[in-house]
């Protein structure tokens, strides 16, 4: 098992290498000069040229790339042109809100989706299934910003129940206030993720409910409820864990739109701002971190598969 994990972690190196080259090229081949962006509209061409020279933007791309890469190996992910502090510090500050938002959303999504997905499968073709399926299709089609704006309009403008936007860390305001601020964005994101999860849960449950071992369980006289919750759910978990993992990955990369609407200083917002400001080194660091977490989450999902299903033998 340990050998397997180490082996998987080693595959990170080529992945990150390729990703870093790709993102480096992508950024540098898009038009726009970071020096010009830094100096603002009134900057003279001479000033821009001088700044470009001093920051090394005029060097050939491979030189710039290897300069950055050697920095990474020494633990230096570069510096932001606009934000103070080390890159690790910047990433950590923005990762915390995103991590919280992601966790709450996934929790909400799972709590909604798994019971509803099972219910839809059990009541296949009948009223509950049709209602649940309708809601999940609406949820999949609905853009998250629309749901977010709708929630703001309803819960904070009309009813005044929750603050409309903003982020307050637990360390400063305590859990209650923190959660009040995070509630709406988490519900907005969670509901959208739930829609997809419902469909996945429903289809894997349906597939399993039609299988021979469910028939066998019935033939053994296992009560209906136990057939669903013990025999079927454990097998359906594989599919469910996959969707949860995928949702986790996509949310950790930053729910850019939701973070913007609710003004949460997370990874999504950092990425958006950095792209607009041509803050190359931040973008590179973010992408590097996102690829790293993605590989780690896939590894964790695989390890969970091994726990659920004895047929999955890792490392062979």
């Amino acid at each position: 098992m340990r050998k397997y994990i180490i082996k998987r972690l080693l595959t990170l190196i080529p992945v990150l290498f390729v990703v870093s080259i790709a993102i480096f090229l992508l950024i540098h081949l898009t038009p726009g000069n970071p020096a010009a962006a830094m100096l603002g509209d009134l900057a003279t061409p001479e000033a821009i040229a001088r700044l470009s020279e001093s920051l090394g933007f005029n060097d050939p791309l491979p030189v710039q790339y290897f300069r950055w890469l050697s920095g990474v190996f020494r633990g230096n992910l570069g510096t932001s042109l606009f934000i103070k502090g080390s890159m690790i510090q910047i990433l950590r500050n923005h990762l915390v809100p995103t991590l919280q938002l992601t966790s709450y959303s996934i929790l909400i999504a799972t709590l909604i989706a798994v019971p509803l997905g099972i219910l839809a499968a059990v009541k296949r073709g009948r009223m509950p299934d049709q209602v649940i399926s309708m809601f999940s299709i609406v949820g999949i089609s609905l853009p998250s910003f629309l749901l977010g704006l709708g929630l703001i309009l309803l819960l904070s403008v009309k009813l005044g129940l929750l603050p409309s936007s903003g982020y307050h860390p637990i360390s400063e305001v305590g859990w209650a206030t923190h959660l009040r601020y995070m509630a709406m964005p988490s519900i907005a994101l969670g509901s959208i993720e739930a829609a997809l999860m419902i469909r996945m849960t429903r289809s894997s449950m349906l597939e399993i409910l039609g299988s021979d071992y469910i028939r066998m369980a019935k033939a053994k006289g296992v009560p209906r409820f136990k057939i669903f919750m013990k025999h079927a759910l454990r097998n359906a978990l594989i599919g469910i864990v996959t969707v949860v993992g995928l949702a986790f990955m996509s949310l950790l990369a930053g729910a850019t739109v939701t973070e913007s609407i609710f003004n949460i200083p997370g990874i999504g917002k950092l990425t958006l701002n950095s792209v607009m400001r041509r803050d190359y080194q931040v973008i590179q660091a973010v992408v590097l971190m996102v690829s790293l977490t993605n590989v780690l989450i896939t590894l964790i999902i695989d390890l969970i598969y091994g726990l659920i299903d004895p047929r999955v033998r890792l490392g062979q």
Partner: protein, 329 residues
């Protein structure tokens, strides 16, 4: 009559499908005595498995299927029981062994768990008692080092071992009736013989009734007391095993018997085949259902369906020409 464990009367199983209602089993009646092995034979698609699973009401009655007729287990009509009472019958009074043991055992639970389950549900055993009993069952079905197998998962065992585990599951509560639905089809020949021997031995030891579903007539000849031959959802001939083999009277039974390859006799003779294939359920012919494939078909066969008639103490045949056809072999 007191030794009659199961009596099926006019069983009809119809499935609701996109193409309308299909009767997979159409008016089947038979019975099983205590300690008896009844063979249910016929080609694929004849309704053998549907019949057996209808007895246990395993199909989804809310969405998929409608049952008619009576299934009497020691006089009690199972078709009238509510679902929760049926749960006490399945696994306890009637148990089933399916064909494909790999897909019929739940992949995420150990073999031991799956044997213990019925014991805990039906006999109210504690986990410890159930474990002891399960290991005993594994030993009974001839699994070496049962303590080790107890903790293994189905995919870790060979096909023959898995089938034994399934038999152990089925027999754990000492059912009165065992339905063995092609229990050896997925196994190779030597293992087949072992599994059949095991079923026969347990049938004698525990005095339970057995319905053996198979298309392997050699197995039938060796193990069964009586045989019912099914074709397209109906029983076309029923008799004790000697009569079926020595004096079959239905053209379909004769056809089946003639298609067994023989070691003796001329090699040059081609193996007999029954012409055509089993029609789909939405293409059931009018009159006698076997008519399109029957060498003896006449006008009356086209217009009217023959009834299952008793022609001797033990033999029943569904054919218009019983009197003219004698041992076609």
């Amino acid at each position: 009559m007191s030794t009659r464990i199961l009596e099926v009367r006019n069983l009809v199983t119809s499935f609701k499908t996109d193409r309308g209602i299909m009767k997979a089993v159409d008016g089947v009646s038979f019975h099983v005595e205590k300690g008896e092995i009844l063979g249910l034979v016929g080609e694929s698609g004849c309704g053998k498995s549907v019949t057996s699973q209808s007895i246990m009401r395993l199909y989804d009655e809310k969405n998929l299927v409608r049952y008619e007729g009576e299934v009497l287990l020691e006089g009690r009509n199972l078709m009238k029981l509510p679902e929760h009472e049926m749960q006490h019958i399945c696994g306890k009074e009637i148990a089933i062994v399916f064909q494909d043991s790999l897909s019929s055992l739940n992949p995420v639970f150990t073999c031991g768990d799956q044997i213990m389950e019925a014991l805990i549900i039906h006999q109210g055993m504690s986990k410890k008692e159930a474990k002891e009993r399960a290991i005993e069952m594994l030993r009974l079905v001839g699994i070496p080092s049962p303590e080790k197998r107890f903790n293994q998962y189905p995919h870790e065992l060979s096909g023959g071992m898995r089938q034994r585990v399934m038999i152990a599951c089925a027999l754990s509560c000492q059912p009165k009736l065992l339905i063995a639905d092609e229990p050896t089809t997925a196994l190779d020949v030597t293992i087949q013989a072992q599994i059949m021997e095991l079923i026969v031995e347990l049938n004698r030891k525990l005095q339970m009734g057995v319905i053996l579903i198979t298309h392997d007539l050699a197995v039938v000849a060796e193990t069964c007391n009586r045989v019912a031959v099914m074709y397209l959802g109906q029983i076309v001939e029923e008799a004790d095993v000697n009569t079926i083999f020595d004096n079959p009277r239905h053209p379909y039974t004769m056809g089946l018997l003639q298609s067994i390859p023989r070691l003796e006799g001329e090699r040059a003779r081609r193996l007999h085949v029954i012409q055509g294939t089993v029609p789909l359920l939405n293409q059931i012919p009018k009159g006698c259902r076997f008519r399109p494939r029957c060498p003896y078909a006449a006008d009356i066969c086209q217009s009217e369906m023959p009834e299952l008639r008793q022609i001797s103490d033990t033999q029943f045949v569904r054919c218009w020409h019983v009197e003219h056809i004698h041992n076609g072999r």
